[in-house]
Symmetry: D2
Subunit: 345 residues, 4 copies
Amino acid sequence: MNNYLGILTGGGDCPGLNAVIRAVVRRAQDDRIPVLGIYSGWQGLIDGNVAPLTRHSVAGIQYRGGTILGTSRINPLASDDMLKKIQDNWRRFGLSRLIVVGGNGTLSCAMRMWRDHGYAIVGVPKTIDNDIPGTDYTFGFDTAVSIATEAIDRLHTTAEALHRVMVVEVMGRHSGWIAAYAGIAGAADLILVPERPFRMSEICNMLSKRKQLGRPFSIVVVAEDAKPHPEEDFLTREQRDRVFHENRLGGIGHLVAGQIEELTQLEARVSVLGYIQRGGSPTAYDRVLATRLGVYAVELILREEFGMMAAVQGLRMASVPLEEIADKYRPLDDDIYNTARTFFG
Amino acid sequence: MNNYLGILTGGGDCPGLNAVIRAVVRRAQDDRIPVLGIYSGWQGLIDGNVAPLTRHSVAGIQYRGGTILGTSRINPLASDDMLKKIQDNWRRFGLSRLIVVGGNGTLSCAMRMWRDHGYAIVGVPKTIDNDIPGTDYTFGFDTAVSIATEAIDRLHTTAEALHRVMVVEVMGRHSGWIAAYAGIAGAADLILVPERPFRMSEICNMLSKRKQLGRPFSIVVVAEDAKPHPEEDFLTREQRDRVFHENRLGGIGHLVAGQIEELTQLEARVSVLGYIQRGGSPTAYDRVLATRLGVYAVELILREEFGMMAAVQGLRMASVPLEEIADKYRPLDDDIYNTARTFFG
Amino acid sequence: MNNYLGILTGGGDCPGLNAVIRAVVRRAQDDRIPVLGIYSGWQGLIDGNVAPLTRHSVAGIQYRGGTILGTSRINPLASDDMLKKIQDNWRRFGLSRLIVVGGNGTLSCAMRMWRDHGYAIVGVPKTIDNDIPGTDYTFGFDTAVSIATEAIDRLHTTAEALHRVMVVEVMGRHSGWIAAYAGIAGAADLILVPERPFRMSEICNMLSKRKQLGRPFSIVVVAEDAKPHPEEDFLTREQRDRVFHENRLGGIGHLVAGQIEELTQLEARVSVLGYIQRGGSPTAYDRVLATRLGVYAVELILREEFGMMAAVQGLRMASVPLEEIADKYRPLDDDIYNTARTFFG
Amino acid sequence: MNNYLGILTGGGDCPGLNAVIRAVVRRAQDDRIPVLGIYSGWQGLIDGNVAPLTRHSVAGIQYRGGTILGTSRINPLASDDMLKKIQDNWRRFGLSRLIVVGGNGTLSCAMRMWRDHGYAIVGVPKTIDNDIPGTDYTFGFDTAVSIATEAIDRLHTTAEALHRVMVVEVMGRHSGWIAAYAGIAGAADLILVPERPFRMSEICNMLSKRKQLGRPFSIVVVAEDAKPHPEEDFLTREQRDRVFHENRLGGIGHLVAGQIEELTQLEARVSVLGYIQRGGSPTAYDRVLATRLGVYAVELILREEFGMMAAVQGLRMASVPLEEIADKYRPLDDDIYNTARTFFG
């Protein structure tokens, strides 16, 4: 009987995952707890695709993007068969406790696995979108904002040299956190976020006014989920369906730029930053946050605070019931948006 | 009579333009030659939009993207009216010599202004695409390659974590220089360049084989002007028109990824790097190259080698007749392509 | 009577100062408050070296290091003459309120100017050292940590390739914040901070043990103010005087490396990161924090909360009485240190 | 009989070594030549510390600093015993050809091993100092220049904000290549290189004149091996011995700054960049160069051009006899120095 602490990473790629894994292994080692790595998220628990993690296997991984454990988007609650296999493997591999690192979906699932099926689970929040409630920040967010900001810095010079409107589409499912932070840091002239449906007439008026005032260039940052006001009618039925129902990466930026060119005399270009925002080496900030969350998650395990999520609140680490955050998204903070708006126009 | 040395920058944005401008002003100063900055490319010469450049006005600009002189794409040879205005302003502002910094189009125009209209002009090659003949490298290219490489590094982790094919569309009008260099530096598994029309069947076979060999992820770098072999028939007539006749930024990457998903069992995602490759602070390499070209252009002016273009060949600066390079593009070097191909598959 | 809002920056260089200045000007503009820039810290108020700041004068400065206002370390409370000149200039230039951006010294001075001399002042904390009480973080800190982390990443490869101990001396007067964060992010094997006097015997034992366990390389991060335990006797009298009384940049790292070579069989090299940690473009995080502090400082001015310092606590902005933080330093948080210690050895 | 192609890396750390190793393995694979990695430079050949390198073992290493083979500074020609062991191991492990990646010392040794002992060797030049004759550039140089340039950019803001002279000591044993390139890219006001002994009086005059002209800040880049003119007498005997006989990292920058403070009214600060210049991820340029050299070295092996060194000349790869470059250093090019000097003062 090995009494293993398991760890799995679920959902999309996010800079900092490896720093969490390393921190969990090193902190567990201090209390002589063996750690079992579970590959490809819940799938590894279903398939029995696991291997012990040692200090050696996590050496030097904190600065690398991706996750040495791999990931998947499978939902183990979707079938009794998967649940049965997990139950079997849990015993077979001597697991007694589990740390689940994931986004809204994975953590909601972790909550149910704990609450409904009794697994001793602690969660660690993971999303570049920063929209998980209960924690000030999630790792990956600072890296995404940094990459988007560097891109906006670069686009500024082209916008100014060629007198163009550069529309920069950044990531942000459901929320405008990345758009707002990168827009503030990159000195955007306008930021469109899902929390505030936009009106093309206002956008075009603002851009035209800038031109009249001698600023014939502009940077417009658009979150991928930004949406026009429901009363806006510039969209075709097909576009409307796509914008409001699907989440096609790259859609909204092109629509906004197209409308700007149609409704003003300005030349507009689009830059869809896409996946470069979620891969690669994490920033120092994200490495520290990920490391602290990993260390703290093991401490929650040691204190048997199961069903909780590790979080950061101010300078302090904190624990939050998974039930409170499951299936919820945190919209962009009003204060942040208002700060951003100070610089519009 | 001021006997001014004029300088103008034409064409698109390119990191290093400001370093050239600074170098021209500082080197001219050594020989007490006053420099006149001409704004918005040839347009400034047409409109008389000029101002003297001093050491003070170029201090600290070498690391900034864009061009303090602005740029435009106007062709002064297109009308006698413009030529007349240039002639008038040339005298009015006491110009006697001119340094023209630009890409293929601007330099071809400079050649004609010198050959057919007698202006004492020296050219400086400028393009991120590295496709101007007569010089080993052009400034802006190293910056574009660096940005694209950093993006590919980041996409690698997502490709590996999620078992995806990441199609990365990079810049490169006419030529595959950026694609080949960034693909080599970023360890791409396949690189598509305009010089070698591609066949979807070969691409898909290669990617499928990689999967069978335990590499279910791949990075495919595609130059924006890469084209399928004329016999390929996967394109609709509309797509074909677009690919072969227009140069729509962002087109080919999506087409390739779509075909990969259709013809294999692999998930493919696209990242169109776009304008971030041509803006912002130049790399150290590009700053040195741009500075050397600026200094050398003034030396050509002093030696009255008009109608020549400053160039770098190995460690040496060299001059090349504008007539030899006008209206020509340099395709990707075969050696470089063959080096890249060593790593395909 | 202009009713100007003044702004000055005091103390050393710190990435983010220009973002604060821009934010103050833009936010004040919303309430039609004219802003007067005061050059070279308090010196500008003494000399009357001031100029109005407009939207135009702060355009595009948020990403640049340094401060467009310049700075100095003068203490206006040191003489009645200086105080008199400030009083005169305050009236002469129509100042009615003042935002003071500075570190412990400048803010303590600001507190006295408000409390003892009645000036309507709001403070903004500024230090790369993160040791001002009352706020979770100060801008400049994240940039310093990022630069130090990147340096440590680079030193890792040399340490591993050549089997060396690399001693990295980072900034941190009085406190170990930078050392701890950069050490965690950079996976240091040991971190020496002022808050925990070190013993050479423990350090050497740890490094020797690492070697025995097959890790003949190590990264030791040392804060510039780290000090040996008072009972340690490896220092000569002259060294002791220097370490305990002066604050010579570059001293302690060399001493520690020298001792390691003397007491173990290991080769040690030193890297003193120095001033590169406090200059240049701020990170996205620091730009956002600096911008929020600047906006919030104007809001405190509007609410007439004079004698207060703008701060960030969790996701929220907050105000803290300058009297509470004046003349105080905040040591490195115990939790952070303990997290760092998890990875020692 | 395996007919292995061996590869070893000797001398100090240099960004790009892993890219060479990967390229050698991948190119050799195309001709079905098995590659044997030799660990710790020549030491591995003496000790028989070797292992086959496969495509798998070199996957994804091209962007990592250091060398997966390790390195050492041992000279196998120093004893017959070592030569005998190498001879034995060469047969024992089925080696028939060897690629040696190293700097001046390692390549000179490789030349003798080929010429005097008959080993079928091809050399690949490796040094951040760019001072190996016969090749335009060496990999590692661009990375070192980039890091130094970024540091100088950061120091500029502190120099300007606080009116200081910042003395930046960069690497460069024997030669001023790094100093000149980084100084040009970073807009240094003065660059001191070993090829041109300096006089303190000239330096101080220049800095004082800058101050009089309203530029009270300056950036002075100093190569670690820069030396005062032999007639200069500011050095104590002890300092003179150190500067002219030893090569103590960090010496000359402090001496120059000390003299500036003593002889002018200016405040001077020193930043010794040190080892951060030679570690970590290579730039895109260095990855491409290292990859091309690795591929080309295998082609030289296939063509049996032993005793040659792979080189880059302009856009082309070339081969140079090791005998021509052994025991020689290439000083900084005069043209480059003259370009740099245009910006002095």
